[in-house]
């Protein structure tokens, strides 16, 4: 797989992370949003650690 493709995946992963940040902010205080964001972040993190260097600060 080309480095280009890996970089495109990394870019898309970053965009998704920003989208989740926006979703979390929009739904602040609503369990149905916040708890599902936690779950989606767990899945997203698997892509982050594989296609970017790990950013443990944004972990929990």
């Amino acid at each position: 797989m080309s480095a280009d493709k890996a970089e495109k995946i990394a870019e898309a992963v970053r965009a998704l992370a920003e989208g989740l940040d926006r979703l979390e902010k929009a739904g602040e205080g609503i369990p149905a949003v916040e708890k599902n964001v936690v779950r989606m972040r767990g899945t997203l993190r698997q892509l982050e650690v594989q296609f970017e260097l790990p950013d443990l600060k944004r972990s929990t």
Binding site: R41, G42, R45, L56, T60
Partner: protein, 441 residues
């Protein structure tokens, strides 16, 4: 669809992988030092600071973590104490080790950690040919041991159809597998053989008739012991492949479908080092046995950094035809440092006995190895279940051949205790076949 779960990382050239690993190693060392009082204490006591990690060679300066270090658990925040790296409310699941080698270790995981477990297992299962077309039966007693829980979730992630065979007995599990035409299952080598035995004796069905296409093993070294692997494959008529993991570590290695004759290390998620058996010197040369020391890069709640597993293996000096660049541990895990012991002055590994016993198709039952003292002399005894329906003369002949092979392989004279078939314990999880009853062992 790619034959690799992650084609980028599974084929990364070795040099780039080292850079990737070193960056991840530094991140996790920073993380545990900042978050876990246990690691801070250990590092400070050794005079080590995360900022000291400037080059690959500095990894050896990071103190080793052992099972004893987990003794700080049970305190505040309960029950993880100083090992915990996240707020307690972020922990979403508890598991513990089986306690085979002492007090069980508590293992917390966040939801992201649990997704990480699935990711490790998905990497393994994909490499072993698991696909959405598989109907996977899990003959596993779902409980506080992590064991096949993660396999279950990984199979769902891959898209397999998962059948949880939880509290059923062996016969009921087999009947359900047959009824549903399961294409795959996961179990310890002991249980894979035990299920075959139950199919033949209780259900009067040849296990090959089940139509199982693949079996994934874990929990014991058997699937990479050639005679045990052959016995399982002959019994079920399909490939049987190994994977190795540990509760404190994660699922860190596997045998791919190209049969590498050992275990690929998941190098993108783990740093695996081999250290000398009697010192902390690194072992890089292929073919030299060493203790396996593991760091899990991406776990958050309770990652392990340089965990001394006390398991023994050696690096292979070959590449795998699968195209993965991940290194191979030759013949998998050979046993544990604390099981490799001197008997009558000879270095002895219980795995060798399994290899010999399983190479005799007539011995289908269980066995136990007992080492004890008779006066000042070591005595090694093999308690072995005898085949049923064999004439006394043939049994004597078979036993003589077995003892001769054992003598040849181990340089030790075994006393043989002939046991009735079915009289020794059966194990669904880790078998405990080796008992060293000498004082201090």
């Amino acid at each position: 669809m790619s034959e690799y779960w992650n084609p980028v990382l599974e084929t990364l050239p070795a040099e780039r992988m080292r850079e990737f690993q070193f960056a991840k190693f530094k991140r996790v060392v920073d993380w545990v030092y900042a978050k876990s009082p246990l690691y801070k204490r250990k590092f400070d006591a050794a005079g080590f600071k995360p900022g000291d990690l400037a080059r690959w060679e500095d990894i050896a300066r990071v103190p080793l973590l052992t099972k004893d270090d987990y003794r700080c658990q049970g305190k505040d925040p309960f029950p993880y104490g100083d090992t915990l790296c996240v707020p307690l409310e972020d922990v979403t699941v508890f598991h513990q080790t089986s306690g085979t080698t002492g007090t069980p270790v508590y293992q917390p995981d966040t939801w992201a950690d649990w997704e990480w477990w699935s990711e490790c297992w998905a990497t393994i299962m994909w490499a072993q040919g698991f696909r959405p077309s598989d109907r996977l039966f899990l003959p596993f007693g779902y409980n506080i041991f992590v064991a096949y829980w993660a396999g279950h979730y990984a199979a769902e992630k891959i898209g397999c159809e998962v059948v949880p065979g939880g509290v059923l007995g062996t016969t009921e599990r087999l009947m359900k597998m047959k009824e549903l035409k399961a294409t795959a299952f996961m179990a310890t080598p002991t249980y894979v053989l035990g299920m075959a035995e139950t199919a033949r004796t209780e259900l009067k069905i040849d296990p090959r008739e089940f139509g199982v296409k693949k079996i994934l093993c874990a929990g014991e070294p058997g699937a990479l012991i050639p005679s045990t692997k052959k016995r399982m494959q002959d019994a079920w008529g399909c490939p049987v492949r190994d994977h190795v993991g540990a509760t404190e570590v994660g699922a860190w290695s596997f045998e791919c479908s190209h049969n590498p004759g050992g275990l690929h290390v998941i190098e993108s998620m783990f740093l695996v080092e081999l250290l000398a058996l009697d010192s902390d010197e690194p072992v890089e040369k292929p073919g030299v046995p060493g203790r396996i020391v593991i760091t899990s890069f991406d776990r958050q709640a309770q990652p392990c950094v340089r965990f001394d597993t006390k398991d023994v293996s050696m690096w292979a000096d070959r590449e795998c035809s699968c195209g993965r660049t991940w290194r191979i541990l030759d013949a998998g895990v050979h046993g544990r440092v604390d099981h490799i012991t001197k008997v009558k002055g000879v270095l002895f590994s219980p795995v060798t006995v399994e290899e010999v016993v399983r190479s005799f198709p007539e011995f289908e039952g269980e066995f136990e190895i007992i080492v004890e003292k008779k006066g000042d002399i070591d005595r090694i005894r093999l308690r072995l279940e005898m085949p049923t329906g064999l004439a006394k003369e043939s049994e004597d002949e078979l036993c003589a051949k077995l003892l001769s092979n054992l003598r040849w392989k181990t340089q030790l004279n075994f006393e043989l205790e002939r046991m009735e078939f079915g009289s020794l314990p059966r194990y669904a999880l880790k078998a405990k076949r080796f008992h060293d009853n000498r004082k201090g062992h």
